[in-house]
């Protein structure tokens, strides 16, 4: 039986549409749900975890409706809001959650220790939650999501506000969970965040699943997507003239005397030529930065290429 599937699901709040005719099934591995804020990510997740009911269609977890209590047994949810029963310690919180899942006191204690060890919080779990750092709070949230050993783990923006070191550790943790045969759904508003993490990407925008596939497939789809690049150098004019001669460069904008904004396609080829030009001309580039394309921009691009296939 499939773990989780959306069957022509739409959801609206009053006149506002949150999700528009989405059909998908979540496959084993790590799935990244990518979309900007307001694209429908949280609606999808709330439907999946049974906090909302679809207006049209059905969400099924192991064949049962997601809204029903029995479906929730299979899902562990790590919410995006940073809220706990603040007066408790981390350990007490996880135990409480275990008991709310129906474990007896003794089993709940075992389970709590087990998951605390999994997230690496065993020795720090007795401090009150209010004194935790963002990363530690994130781990406790993760621990409570694992406490009933669910098949599907849903993580809503788990890397938001976590420092780089914390990110690395959490990423490692997700991989360990994957190795133990869990299915994981991670949402994020940055495609780059999924780079090192997801096997499969669901690209969501304006309430619709725009693209799904492996990261490579998505990247390939986006390879031709024009990039915006910022270059700062003291010899901007000279460099601009040289770069204009490249056929990968579609536009150059001179921003002040020492900054260039480039629009390029076929990025790989461009970077190779750029290094070449810089070395040959002896120009010192103080900054070379790809300006992150917003998911909105990618959406527009994908819509465009869907409407006018080349």
């Amino acid at each position: 039986m499939t773990l989780c599937e959306f069957d022509c699901v739409s959801k609206w709040y009053g006149p506002v549409i949150g999700l528009n005719d989405v059909s998908l099934s979540i496959e084993p591995g790590i799935t990244g749900l990518v979309g900007h804020n307001g694209a429908g990510k949280s609606t999808l997740i709330k439907l999946l975890t049974g906090q909302l009911r679809p207006s049209i269609g059905e969400v099924r977890i192991r064949g049962r409706r997601a809204w029903s209590a029995s479906a929730k047994r299979h899902i562990g949810y790590c919410p995006d809001v940073d809220a706990f029963y603040e007066e408790m310690s981390g350990r007490a919180f996880v135990r409480t959650m275990a008991k709310l899942h129906g474990f007896s006191n003794r089993v709940a204690r075992e389970r709590a220790e087990d998951v605390l060890a999994q997230v690496g919080m065993t020795d720090r779990a007795d401090r009150p939650l209010a004194s935790y750092s963002k990363g530690m709070r994130q781990r406790i949230k993760l621990a409570q999501a694992l406490v009933h050993d669910p098949d599907l783990i849903v993580l809503d923006e788990p890397l938001n506000g976590v420092d780089p070191i914390g990110r690395v550790e959490l990423t490692r943790l997700f991989r360990e969970l994957l190795a133990r045969g869990k299915t994981i759904l991670i949402s994020s508003h940055l495609l780059d965040e999924m780079d090192a993490l997801a096997n499969r990407i669901l690209f969501i925008c304006r309430g619709r699943i725009l693209a799904s596939g492996s990261l490579e497939e998505i990247r390939a789809l986006l390879d031709d997507h024009p990039l915006k690049i910022r270059i700062a150098t003291s010899r901007a004019r000279q460099l601009a003239t040289r770069l204009l001669a490249l056929d990968t460069v579609q536009g150059v904008e001179l921003n002040g005397d020492d900054e260039l904004l480039l629009e390029v396609h076929r990025a790989k080829q461009f970077f190779a030529s750029l290094a070449d030009v810089v070395t040959r001309e002896g120009v010192d580039v103080e900054r070379l930065q790809v300006i992150d394309a917003s998911t909105e921009a990618i959406f527009d691009y994908l819509m465009e290429s869907a409407n006018h296939p080349r």
């Binding site: 009911r53 809001v81 809220a83 409570q144 009933h148």
Partner: protein, 261 residues
Amino acid sequence: MSTTITSRITGPLSACLHLFGLSLRRLFRSRQTMICALLLGLASIAVVAWSMRRERSPEEFIEEIFLAVYVSFLLPIFCLSYGTAGIASDREEQTLVYLLVSPLPRPLIFLAKCSASLLLALAWTMAGMSVVCWLGGLPGMEALHVLWPAILWSTVTYLMLFMLFSVMFRRATMIALAYALFIETLIGNMPGIAKRLAVSFYTRCLIFDAGSAFGVSPSGPGGAELFVALPGPTAQAILYLLGGGLFLGGLLIFSVREYSD
């Protein structure tokens, strides 16, 4: 491994019991408890002052203390303190999501929360009543014997009403405050049968019915004619129905409601 862990789940009943205990603890340790204690303290001082003077009859006790201070103010505030906190405070602190995604059926969640609030509210109203009556001396104790059922059922009804607020509104406490302090008083003092829309009307009906042996009756200009009391059993039946209806309403709304914030 998955199956072994899942098989150790004992079922929704123990989870429900645990939620009940958890809610009870959290509610008891909240600020509301302090406010209730403070109010009861203030009232007690007044009652002590009242009872120091010459001998009093139970009738005077009921009219001057019980109705004026306890029924019109302390009772709704006690119920409000725990009733609205039931679900609205979880929602305010954004912790409701943990309950909503847990494999507990929603009606059971409501039931557990509701019984925790009810237990605490009943403890406060009953203890508060006992304290007030005890401090009122002999007339107070006499009154206590006949009055407690009226207060018990009023507490249940009030609490169910405030639980309903709690399920429906995010700012349940403010709405309930405005209701208890203003709308109840306003409606309760209207002429005709309009006052039957207020919970406190039935409480007073029950008190007048039970206290008739002491000669308690609606006072003030117009008195009984203006009050249009219902007979005790009718009032009691209405309170049962009202309490039950409000409970079912809260249960139903909580079961189908989507908390998307």
